[in-house]
Amino acid sequence: MIIDSTVLKELIFGNNSKYQKIRKKFEGGELTIRIPDVVKYDVFKTIINENIPEEHFTKLVELIVRYLEYLTVNLDHTHITDAISISRDLKVDFSVAACLVLANSLMDVYVTANRELVEKLRKNGYSVLHINEIL
């Protein structure tokens, strides 16, 4: 599945057991998790605002960056062009549009934790799942 930052942030920083089950399924090879590169930067922005003690900061950030590298798919120019069009037409964040484009390209499903977004995208004919629908 392709996840956006609403799911990814919860996977990394949250303590919700449902999300941790997803991570365990992923690590057990039962499902795949991929993110477009732009989603990675949303997580970095969160890190900047997290209250991480100085003595852990560098090591934790390094580990998170390494973890995300394994999930990241770099978008090519066609993906980016399509994502810009979707973002402009639907008035959604570029990283959301990038998830839609990547899901379509890899014939995978886009999963988000944002209910309003699910409704909006479905109204516009896009295939998307809310995280609760796969838990």
Binding site: R23, E27, G29, P53, H56, K59, L60, L63, Y70
Partner: protein, 70 residues
């Protein structure tokens, strides 16, 4: 993935490994028309990535644990 890992991955050098499997399984494999080398290589690569991820996550959990104990 670190630069070193990327460098290793891009290396053109291959090595040969051998595994022992039951005769009946080899016969079944021969009946299926797929590139077994490619399949096994992909499977090993996925497993290596997953194990690396688990290791990294273990370290993240350790740090998060010590942060929560503060």
């Amino acid at each position: 993935m670190s630069d070193m890992s990327k460098e290793k991955k891009n290396s053109k050098k291959d090595v040969v490994i051998s595994i022992r499997i039951p005769k009946w399984l080899k016969e079944e494999m021969d009946r299926i028309d797929i590139n077994w080398s490619e399949y096994i290589r992909d499977s090993i690569e996925k497993k290596v990535s997953i194990e690396e991820l688990k290791k990294i996550w273990g370290q993240i959990e350790t740090i998060k644990g010590s942060m929560n104990r503060r």
